[in-house]
């Protein structure tokens, strides 16, 4: 019993020591509690849960007598399609789809009446341009719904006209098979994206971007904390070394290490998992360099503001958590409220995921603004880190 009592005393010594240590580091508690809470709160408030509808263009060939009024098509389409316009020019529509100005193109049949007279189904061509397998499924579903709506509308109109599908001028009535009556139109679909990756193929570049950012952050987040807490920073203060030399040296060292690991991971993704690299190495390397630069800046900033190694680790984990939620890794950025999207765009990985997917799966980076933003984030973080380090180096108090 006495031994048990002593054991309890010994255990309690650890309990109180640990609690006191934690309580005396308010920064740790703040990042431990407030960080995840804030992320979850922002996620809860900012996530709309609504799938972004496809911006859809309807092509109505000139020789048909189908309506060209946008509202007409809006009425017959469901919430998954956002009809943005109607055009007679198929080439123009395809160009807009190729440039991703629109996400879906519906081409009305040119000879619907003639087909029906012949007792054949007319064909609605639906094309989209996405490398995202989830979006592709949504497009398929939206097409099915649309065709069902069109068929229903045709049947309704036919019923209004006494189920007389023949032209009034026709010399004799026509025979229409029951299948055609039930489904006067059918859809033919096509995805014009340069590749249609599997789920692994689509998420591979995203995982790569996330790994690259997290690697760079965790590598650097501790480096300056250790030096600030030991006597090393005092040696730097006395030595003829400038804050810029110190920072650039750190950047290059960790960049080399990050890039070596990135090269290995990239080789595995491309060589083993078979993820395509349609754009070649140049845009891919450009994105990797910019993402590494920005991520190292984020890690170094953490290491310059954290008051302990423990807090540096926590802040790195919070960045990872925010990246998983807001970067488009799991949920598309467009599904968040506009205000919350700023958080997403402040994260290097958001731009890394999108531009890597474009470079690898589409063959070109269409959102070049994201590259500029990535470079801007990196430059801003470098400057903030430099200012902070200068302040630390200048005075010991």
């Amino acid at each position: 019993m006495r031994a048990l009592g002593k054991s309890f005393v010994r255990i309690s010594s650890f309990i109180f020591k640990e609690i006191r240590e934690i309580v005396r580091r308010p920064g740790v508690i703040l990042s431990l509690v407030l960080g995840p809470f804030l992320i979850m709160a922002l996620f809860g408030l900012g996530y709309t849960g609504a799938r972004t509808p496809f911006d859809t263009l309807v092509v109505v060939p000139p020789q048909t007598d189908l309506p060209t009024d946008v509202e007409y098509y809006r009425d017959i389409s469901d919430a998954q399609l956002n009809i943005v316009g109607v055009t007679e020019n198929l080439d123009e529509g395809r160009a807009k789809l190729a440039s991703q100005e629109v996400g879906l193109l519906i081409v009305a049949p040119t000879n619907a009446q003639e087909q029906l007279r012949k007792g054949e189904q007319s064909v609605v061509t639906v094309e989209w341009n996405t490398v995202d397998p989830v979006r592709e499924s949504l497009a398929q579903f939206a097409t099915s719904t649309l065709v069902a709506e069109i068929n229903a509308e045709i049947i309704r109109q036919a019923a209004e006209r006494g189920i007389t599908l023949a032209n009034e001028d026709a010399p004799e009535p026509i025979t229409v098979p029951p299948e055609t009556i039930a489904k006067p139109t059918r859809a033919e679909t096509a995805n014009i994206a340069p590749t249609a990756p599997t789920v692994i193929g689509f998420f591979g570049p995203a995982v790569f971007a996330l790994v690259l950012q997290h690697l760079a952050i965790t590598l650097t987040a501790m480096s300056m904390v250790r030096e600030r807490l030991s006597g090393t920073m005092d040696v730097y203060r006395v030595a003829p070394v400038s804050s810029m030399e110190l920072l650039v040296g750190k950047y290059i060292a960790y960049a080399v290490f990050s890039l070596v690991i990135s090269a290995i991971v990239a080789a595995l993704l491309i060589g083993v998992l078979g993820i395509p690299l349609l754009g070649g190495w140049v845009p891919f390397v450009a994105v990797v360099l910019l993402l590494t630069f920005a991520s190292l800046g984020l890690g170094l900033l953490i290491s310059l503001i954290a008051d302990s190694e423990r807090q540096a680790v926590q802040l790195s984990m919070i960045v990872l958590l925010a990246s998983v939620f807001f970067s488009g890794f799991v949920l598309p950025v467009e599904e968040f409220l506009p205000a919350v999207r700023y958080i997403a765009y402040a994260l290097p990985v958001t731009h890394g995921i999108e531009t890597l997917q474009q470079a690898m799966l589409r063959g070109e980076i269409s959102d070049t603004w994201m590259l500029w933003t990535l470079g801007g984030i990196g430059a801003a973080l470098y400057l903030i880190s430099l200012v902070r380090l200068r302040r630390i180096m200048r005075r010991a108090d």
Partner: protein, 332 residues
């Protein structure tokens, strides 16, 4: 045994450090109060005082990592807060806190600091070997810093501080937490540096180490209590040389009244006395003669070397008494 005295700095030696009326406050705490002293080129100044006396604060102000609240500091003719790059290349600082990279070898640690001070890779190799040789760590050059003993790590830090051949070294508590044998060897290395013409400012909380310095500055509660060379400081504190007497029968200080050269007598025990004189060599025979005439045999008469702990305690006590007196005057 007191160490072999290094040759004194030449009389016309340039003053390399000048501290004039410097005060440093942290909030309401006065870490350094109105301190003034100077250091000549090619000397070791021992900045001595107990923990919290302001030694590290002073060394930080001298190296430009902390600004003074009041007063003026000049190191190698420059304000430390505005050191030029060229001046910084001439400085070395060994901090009190561990400043090595545990995952680098001894050689890599020294090489890193050499590069930090701008030494080209061509010059570095020989200097690294030399620095490791001086601190007797050449055999451990390929061992990781984390695998070295505490004393070896401290010596490695010293090698790091001297690798770029600085002319002024600031060494903060090099012997803290180190066993006496190793402390002696570290001081040997510091004195070897001083012999090669370097100027050193060394802080220590071991008052006894004052003997190794050319000049000693005693700091207590942020105040400069004394500044002198070790022998003169010892002598000035007790008013001269001290003879410790032991007799064969009880004796009182009155027995020595009137003996030429005796300035003060203190009773230590019934048969033991401390005698203060300006010249122990001349006064001792006179004392023995006087006591013999009175029928008292002197069993032992040695010149007493008070330890620096005693010197320091005496000086601090005097300063406290002065303060009490001053505050008493103010209140009355």
């Amino acid at each position: 045994m007191p160490p072999e005295r290094p040759p004194s700095a030449p009389a016309d030696a340039r003053q390399i450090i000048n501290v004039d009326g410097v005060t440093r406050r942290f909030g309401t705490l006065n870490a350094i109060r109105d301190v003034t002293f100077g250091i000549n080129e090619g000397t070791i100044l021992g900045l001595i005082g107990p923990s919290g006396s302001g030694k590290t604060t002073m060394i930080r102000m001298l190296t430009g990592t902390l600004g003074p609240t009041a007063g003026r500091i000049s190191v190698m003719g420059e304000d430390p807060m505005r050191f030029s790059r060229r001046t910084r290349e001439q400085l070395a600082y060994m901090p009190q806190l561990f400043s090595l990279y545990p995952d680098l070898t001894a050689e890599e640690n020294v090489g890193f600091v050499a590069a930090l001070f701008g030494m080209s890779p061509f010059r570095r190799g020989r200097r690294i070997t030399r620095a490791l040789e001086v601190v007797d760590l050449l055999h451990a050059r390929r061992r990781l810093a984390r695998d070295l003993s505490g004393g070896m790590q401290r010596r490695l830090e010293l090698a790091c501080a001297m690798v770029h051949e600085p002319s002024m070294l600031f060494i903060d508590e090099p012997t803290a937490g180190i066993d006496p044998m190793l402390r002696q060897s570290i001081w040997d290395e510091l004195r070897a540096l001083r012999k090669s013409g370097k100027t050193l400012l060394v802080t220590t909380q071991y008052v006894g180490e004052a003997e190794y310095a050319d000049r000693v500055a005693l700091l207590a509660e942020g105040e400069l209590v004394a500044l002198d060379d070790p022998a003169a400081m010892r002598q000035s504190v007790f008013g001269g040389e001290i003879i410790e007497l032991e007799t064969d029968r009880p004796i009182t200080p009155d027995a020595l009244s009137g003996v030429e050269g005796v300035e003060r007598v203190r009773q230590l025990a019934p048969r033991r006395l401390n005698v203060v004189t300006q010249d122990a060599g001349r006064t001792t025979p006179r004392i023995v003669e006087t006591l013999s005439a009175a029928g008292i045999n002197v069993l032992d008469a040695d010149e007493y070397q008070p330890s620096f702990d005693e010197v320091f305690a005496e000086l601090v006590e005097r300063r406290r008494a002065e303060r009490r007196e001053q505050s008493g005057e103010h209140t009355s």
